[in-house]
Symmetry: C2
Subunit: 766 residues, 2 copies
C-alpha cells in the first residue's frame, strides 16, 4: 500500500484549494488562498494579505505531474496583470500576448507540413538508393531522375546497381542486387538505431503514448528536446527506408505527432508566458498533435477529431479546439504547397475509380466478416506486440537493441527480397486501394483476372508476415508508427476478400445472392479496392480502438459520403470484437506498460465499491502532527520520500504540506542555533509569527485539500479525478482524517485488468 | 437575494452526494448513499442496507433542472442489473438494450434526412404557387412541371396566374400577379402563425436556445411534443414559402435541430430505459441535434462539431460523440437518397467555378474589411433583434402575434414585389456563390459587366433591407432560423465587395496592388463568388459567434482546402470584432432573455472575487433546525416555496432536504392524530426509529451536499458547477453553515453583463 506514496509515483502533489474545516471552533475568518497560487502574478494583493508567506513555486522534474489548478491560476493572474497595465501598454500587451501564441501556432503548422513533405522525399530517395542510382545525380530518386520524359520515351538515366556496375550475368545481377539491397537496408536500420540509442532514447517507436501522458499533465521535457526532434525525424526516414515493417510512407501519424509536439515545445520556449506555464504549454502541444495527424493523413478534420477523441484535450475548451483546427489546416496547406512529388496529392492513399459511390446490400456480409477478422487480428497484434515488448525487456535483447534492429532489418530485407518483390513493393499499399482500370494499367498483376488465386494467396501471406514483423518492429529502438503497417495488413486482407467475392461473382453470376448485380459478369459490380478500405478500417479499429477520428480520416480518403456508412459499421464492429478480446488499444497498453499517470477519458464503472475499498487508511499514512519539533520534522522528511504529507491537529485534518516546500522553508531556520527544538505550527493563531522564539509558523505551507466521505461510490471519485484534474483526495469523518486516494491509485485501478502493467516502467527513470 | 430561491428559479435541487461532517463527534459509520440514488435499479442491496428509507424518485416538472448524478447512478444501476441477470437473459439483455439505442438513433437519422428533403419540396411548391400553377397538376412546382423537356423546348405547362386566368392587359397582369403574390404570402404566414399560436407556442423561431438549455439539464418536455414537431415542420414550410425574411430554403439549421430533437424525444419514449432517464435521453437529443445541422447544410462533420462547440454536449464522452456522428451521417445519406429535385445536391449552396483554388495576397485586404463589417453588422443585428423582441413583449404586439406576422408578411411581400424581383429572387442567394461563366449563362444579370454599379447598389440595398427584416422576423410567432438570412446578408455584402474589387481591377489593371494579377483585365483574377462566401462566413461569425463548426460547414461548401484559410481568418476576425461590441451571440442573448439555467461552455474569469461575494449568507437562508416539531415543519413548508432547505443541528450543517420529498413523506404522518407535536429528527441515532412515539425519523430525506470554504475564488466555484453539473454548493466553516450558492446565481452571474436578462422570462411559465 505504501509504495504508491513514493514521489516517483509522481501523482501526489498540491491539490485543489478546497475547504476542510480548518480548525474546530475556529471563528476567525480563515486565511486567504495559499500564496503559492499567485506565484507569477504581478498584482500581489493576495500576497500582501498574507505577510509572512513564502513564494515556493512548484519545481517540476521529469516524472512529476503538473498542478493544473496552480497553472491555471498563475496564467489568469498573469493575464489580469497584463490587462491592468495602464495606458497604451495595457492595450497592446494582450494583443502582443495573443500574437505570440499565434506565432507559435502558425510556425508549428508550417513546420510540420514542411517536415512531412520533405520526409517523403528523403524516404523515397533512400528507398530507391537500395535498387540503383540516377546517373545524372545521385541525389535524384527514380521518379525525379526520369521526370520530364515523353510518355513513350525510355528512361536511361536511372540504372539499377548491377547495370550501373556493369554486371551482365543474370545470376550475378540478382545476387548483387539482393546483396546491395540487404546491406543498405541493414545499414539504414542500424544507423537509425545507433542514433536513437546514443542520442535520443525517447525517439523510439511512436510517441503517442507519451504525448497522451504529457497532455494529461505528466512532465517529460526530455521527450520533447531538440535532439529528440532531430533524431526522430532522421531516424524515421532511415528506418522507413530500411524496409522495416512500418509501411513505406514517411508520413507516420505517431512519429509526426511527436515531431510536431517537439516543434511546438521548442517554439513555446521562446516566450516566457509558455515557458513558465505548463498548462498553457500543453494547450499548444495539443494543437500541434492535431497538426501531426492532419499532415500524416492529409485530413485536418481527422486531426482535430483525433485530438478530441484520442488525446481528450479539447474537452470543454472550444478555444483550444479552435487552435488545433487552425494548426491542422495550416499544416495541411503547407504540406500541399511543399508538394514533394509534383503531384498535389494531399491524402496519403487516394482512392480512385470507386464506381458511382453505390454499394449493394449483400456486400455487408463480406464486410462484416472483414470487421470481425480485423477485430480479432487487431487484438492478436496487440497481444503479440505486448508479449514481445515484455520479452525484449527481460531478455538479453535489452542489452543489444542495435543488434536486434540489425537482425530484424536483415530478416525483413531477406524476406522482402525472397518473397517476390510484389509483397512489399512500395506502391503496393497505395495500389490496393485502386480499382482495376484498363486505362491506368495493371498494378503489380493485382488486376490479372487469371492470377486470382495467386494474388489472394500472396495478399494473405503478406498480411500474415506483416502482422508478425509489425508486432516485432513496433517497440524496437527505431522510430516507428503503428498506423501504416496496420493499414497495409488490413488493406491486403480486404483486397483478398474483395477479390474472392469478385471471383465468386464471376463464377456464379446467377446466384441469388448476386441478384442485385447485373447477370453479365463482365460488368463491374464489386469493387475490391473499396474492400481494401474496409479491411484497413477494420484492422485500424481493432488495433487503435479509435472510432470517429478513424472514420473521418478514412472518409477523407474515399470522399464518397455513402461509403462512410460501411466504414462506420466496420470500425464499430471491429472495435466491439476487439474490446471483447481485450480492453485496451495498443496505445493504452503501452501507457500501462510504462505506468504513466494517465486516466483514460472513458467513464469508469465500479461494481458497487466505495472509496473506502481503495483508499489508504490513516494507518498506512505518514502524517505530520501540528506542533512537531523542527528536529523531528527534519527527521521525518529525511525518512520518508513521499511527495507530501497530511497535516493533522489532534486527529482533525488541517491540510496538506508538500515535502519540497517544507524543506525549502526550514533549511535556513535549521541552520540557526538551537532552532531544532522549536515547535512547528501549521495553524495560524493570532499571536503566532516567525519572530516568536520557540515556534516556527509553517501555516503558509499548508494547502487545502479536497475532502469526501469514504462511503462515496468509487465511480464518483474516479470521475472527479478525471474532470477536475485532481491529484489526491482526502477522506474525512467530521473533520477526522480517515484515508487518502492519489491519482496513482486511480491509474492503477483503471489499468488493473492489464497483466503487464509497469512491465516497462523503469525506462521512465532514464 | 431571496427571489432566486423560489422553485421557479428551477435550479435548486438534489446535489451530488458529498461528504459533510454529518454529526459532530459521530463515531458510528454514517449511512450509505441516500436511497434516492438507487430508485430505478433492480438490485437493491443499497436499499436493504437502509431499512427505513423511502423511495422518493425526483419528479421533474417543466422548468426543473435534472439531477445529473442521480440519473447517471440510476442508469448504471439499471445496466448492472441487466448484466447481473442469469443465463441467456443476462447475455441478451445488454444487446437488446444497445439495439434499442441504435434503433432510436438510426430512425432519428433517417427521419431527419427525409423530413429535410420533403420540406424542400413543400416549400418549392408553395413558393411557386404564388407565381402561377402547373396546368397538368397543381401539385407540381415549376421545375417538376417543366421537367422532361428537351433543352430547346419551351415549357407551356407552367403558367403564371394572369396567363392562367386569361388576363391580357399588361397592367392587369402585373396587378393581378402582385395581388395574388401578396395575398398568398400573407395567407401562408398567417396560417403558420395561427398554427403556432393555437397549437404549439413553443414551435416559434429557431429552437436552438431551448435545445441548449435542455441539453444542459433543463426540463422542457412540452417543447419536444408531437404537436410541436408537426407544427414546427409545417409552419416552417409555410413561413418560408410566405417569403418572410428567413432565406428561401426549408432546411434551416435551427428549426431542423428542433425537429430532430422532437423526433428523438418521441422515439425515445418508446423505451423505458430512456423514458425514465433524463440524462440518457439527453445524450440521444444531442445526437439528434447534430443530425439536424448535418441535414441543414449537408455536412455531417459540421453537425458533429456544432454539437461539440455550440451545444457542448459531447465533452469527455467519445461514445456520445460517436452516436452524434453516426446520426449525422445517416441523416445526410437519407437526405441524399430522398434527393427531392433529382439533383443529388447534398450541400445547400454548391460553390462552383472557383478558379484553381488559388488566391492572391492582396485579396486579404477586402476580405479583412468584410470580416470587420460582418462583425459590426452582426452585433448590430443582434442588438436590433433583442430590442425588437423586448419591445414586442412590452407593447400591444404581445396581444396580437398573428396580426404582427400578417403585417410583416404583407410588408415583406410588397417590398419584394416592388424592389424588383431580383433582390429577393429565390435563387439569388445560391447564385451569389457562383462564378460568372459564359457557358452557364448570366445569373439575374449579376454577371452583366456594364451593370456593375447597379448590381452593387442592389446588393447593398438587399443586405440592408434584409438586416431590418431579419431582426424583426426572428422572434415572431412563426418558425424561423437565423442562419440562412444571415448567409444571404453576408453573401450580398461579399458579392458587392467582390464586384467592386473586380471593377477596381478592371479599371486599373496596372496598379501596383494588382501586380499579382495578369495585366490583361480580360483574364479572370478575382472571383466575386468566393467573396460572397467570405462575406457569409464573416456575417455568421458576427451573429452566431461560432468558430470551428462554422468553418467546417463553409469548408464543405467550397471544398478547396486552401480556401479554408481565408474563411478561418474572416470568421476569427469577425468574431473578435463582434465580441468587442457585445459579448453574446444571438443564441446566448435569447437564452439570457428567457433566463434559462444554462452555463456557457467558456471558462469564467473573475476579477478576484471569492465565493463569499456572491453567496447568500445564512441570514438570507431559510433552514430547518433538527428537532423541529412536525406542525412547525408543515408551516414552514407552506410558507416558503423554496425547492429545498438546508438542515442544521446547532448551527452545524447536516445536509439538504428537498421540499417535495418532505411533503410526500410527512403527509400521511400528519393525518395521524396528535402527530403534529412529534419532533422531526434528521440525524440518525441508534435508538431512533419511526415507531418511537414522539419523534419522526426523517434522516432518510437528508441529502449530502458539496461544501466549500467561502474564500474559494469564484472562478473555481463556477467551473465546478460547469464540470460537475452541480446545482448548489453550501459554504461551511468548520461544519457551520455560512452560505449557499445555487446554479441560478451562477447563471445570473454569467449573464450579468447583458441588459435584458429575463426580459422574456415569463414566457417560460406558459
Amino acid at each position: 500500500m505504501r509504495r504508491k506514496f513514493f514521489s516517483e509515483s509522481s501523482a501526489i502533489s498540491e491539490p485543489v484549494n478546497f475547504s476542510p474545516p480548518r480548525k474546530l471552533g475556529d471563528r476567525s475568518p480563515p486565511p486567504p488562498l495559499a500564496a503559492e497560487q499567485f506565484e507569477l502574478c504581478d498584482n500581489l494583493d493576495e500576497w500582501s494579505r498574507s505577510p509572512h508567506r513564502h513564494r515556493v513555486p512548484p519545481k517540476y522534474r521529469d516524472g512529476n505531474t503538473i498542478d493544473w489548478w496552480y497553472e491555471d491560476f498563475a496564467e489568469r493572474e498573469r493575464w489580469k496583470g497584463l490587462l491592468s497595465q495602464s495606458g497604451l501598454k495595457g492595450l497592446l500587451a494582450p494583443l502582443l500576448d495573443a500574437a505570440k501564441m499565434w506565432f507559435v501556432i502558425v510556425c508549428t503548422g508550417i513546420g510540420v507540413g514542411v517536415a512531412g513533405g520533405w520526409l517523403d522525399v528523403l524516404v523515397k530517395w533512400l528507398g530507391d538508393l537500395r535498387e540503383g542510382r540516377c546517373t545524372s545525380s545521385i541525389f535524384y530518386n527514380s521518379v525525379a531522375c526520369c521526370s520530364g520524359l515523353d510518355p513513350g520515351e525510355v528512361c536511361n538515366e536511372w540504372r539499377s546497381w548491377s547495370n550501373y556496375l556493369g554486371v551482365h550475368s543474370i545470376l550475378g545481377q540478382s545476387l548483387l542486387q539482393s546483396f546491395i539491397y540487404i546491406v543498405l537496408s541493414v545499414a539504414f536500420a542500424a544507423s537509425a538505431a545507433v542514433l536513437v540509442v546514443t542520442y535520443a532514447p525517447f525517439a523510439f517507436h511512436t510517441g503517442i503514448p507519451e504525448i497522451k501522458a504529457i497532455l494529461g499533465g505528466y512532465v517529460f521535457d526530455s521527450f520533447l528536446s531538440a535532439w529528440t526532434l532531430l533524431i526522430k525525424a532522421l531516424g524515421l526516414a532511415l528506418s522507413v527506408a530500411s524496409g522495416l515493417s512500418l509501411g513505406k510512407e514517411a508520413r507516420h501519424s505517431g512519429p509526426l505527432v511527436h515531431v510536431a509536439c517537439c516543434m511546438a515545445f521548442l517554439l513555446s520556449r521562446l516566450f516566457v508566458q509558455f515557458r513558465y506555464n505548463e498548462a498553457h504549454k500543453r494547450k499548444l502541444l495539443a494543437a500541434a498533435a492535431a497538426a501531426g495527424v492532419s499532415v500524416a493523413f492529409g485530413s485536418p478534420l481527422g486531426g482535430v477529431l483525433f485530438g478530441l477523441e484520442e488525446l481528450d484535450t479539447f474537452a470543454n475548451e472550444s478555444d483550444v479546439m479552435w487552435r488545433g483546427f487552425v494548426t491542422s489546416v495550416i499544416a495541411a496547406v503547407a504540406l500541399q504547397y511543399v508538394d514533394p512529388f509534383g503531384t498535389s496529392k494531399l491524402v496519403l492513399f487516394q482512392v480512385r475509380g470507386m464506381g458511382e459511390g453505390s454499394w449493394l446490400a449483400f456486400e455487408l456480409i463480406p464486410w462484416l466478416a472483414l470487421a470481425v477478422i480485423g477485430g480479432i487480428l487487431g487484438s492478436l497484434l496487440i497481444r503479440l506486440n505486448v508479449a514481445i515488448a515484455v520479452y525484449r525487456r527481460n531478455s538479453f535483447l535489452r542489452e543489444w537493441p542495435v543488434l536486434e534492429v540489425v537482425g530484424a532489418a536483415a530478416i525483413t530485407a531477406a524476406v522482402n527480397d525472397l518473397v517476390s518483390d510484389r509483397v512489399q513493393s512500395s506502391e503496393l499499399v497505395a495500389n490496393l486501394f485502386q480499382e482495376c482500370d484498363p486505362i491506368r494499367g495493371d498494378f503489380h498483376g493485382l488486376c490479372n483476372p487469371t492470377a486470382m488465386w495467386e494474388n489472394v494467396f500472396l495478399l494473405l501471406l503478406t498480411s500474415i508476415i506483416k502482422i508478425g514483423f509489425t508486432a516485432w518492429t513496433f517497440g524496437m529502438m527505431v522510430p516507428a508508427g503503428i498506423f501504416l503497417p496496420t493499414i497495409a495488413i488490413g488493406a491486403s486482407l480486404g483486397r483478398a476478400v474483395g477479390m474472392l467475392t469478385q471471383g465468386l461473382y464471376k463464377a456464379y453470376p446467377k446466384a441469388w445472392i448476386f441478384s442485385a448485380c447485373p447477370p453479365d459478369p463482365t460488368v463491374r459490380c464489386i469493387y475490391p479496392g473499396f474492400y481494401a478500405v474496409i479491411g484497413a478500417s477494420a484492422m485500424l479499429g481493432g488495433v487503435t480502438r479509435m472510432t470517429i477520428s478513424l472514420v473521418v480520416i478514412l472518409f477523407e480518403l474515399t470522399g464518397a459520403l455513402s461509403h462512410v456508412l460501411p466504414i462506420m459499421i466496420s470500425v464499430m464492429v471491429s472495435k466491439w470484437v476487439g474490446d471483447a478480446l481485450g480492453e485496451d488499444g495498443i496505445y493504452a497498453s503501452w501507457i500501462s506498460m510504462r505506468r504513466y499517470p494517465w486516466l483514460a477519458p472513458i467513464e469508469y464503472h465500479d461494481n458497487g465499491e466505495v472509496a473506502a475499498d481503495v483508499m489508504t487508511s490513516t494507518l498506512g499514512l505518514v502524517v505530520i502532527e501540528n506542533g512537531i519539533r523542527l528536529l523531528e520534522l527534519d527527521e521525518l522528511l529525511k525518512t520518508w520520500e513521499y511527495h507530501g504529507f497530511p497535516v493533522i491537529l489532534g486527529g482533525k485534518l488541517i491540510g496538506y504540506a508538500s515535502r519540497d516546500k517544507i524543506i525549502t522553508y526550514i533549511q535556513p531556520i535549521l541552520s540557526e542555533s538551537g532552532a531544532s527544538n522549536r515547535r512547528c505550527l501549521f495553524v495560524e493563531h493570532p499571536s503566532s509569527s516567525a519572530t516568536e522564539p520557540d515556534t516556527v509558523d509553517l501555516s503558509a505551507l499548508v494547502e487545502d485539500v479536497m475532502q469526501l466521505r469514504k462511503e462515496v461510490p468509487l465511480e464518483l471519485v474516479v470521475n472527479m479525478f478525471r474532470k477536475l484534474n485532481l491529484r489526491h483526495i482526502m477522506f474525512t469523518q467530521a473533520g477526522e482524517l480517515t484515508g487518502m486516494i492519489t491519482k496513482t491509485d486511480i491509474v492503477a485501478l483503471s489499468s488493473a485488468h492489464f497483466p503487464h502493467t509497469g512491465a516497462l516502467a523503469e525506462q521512465r527513470a532514464t
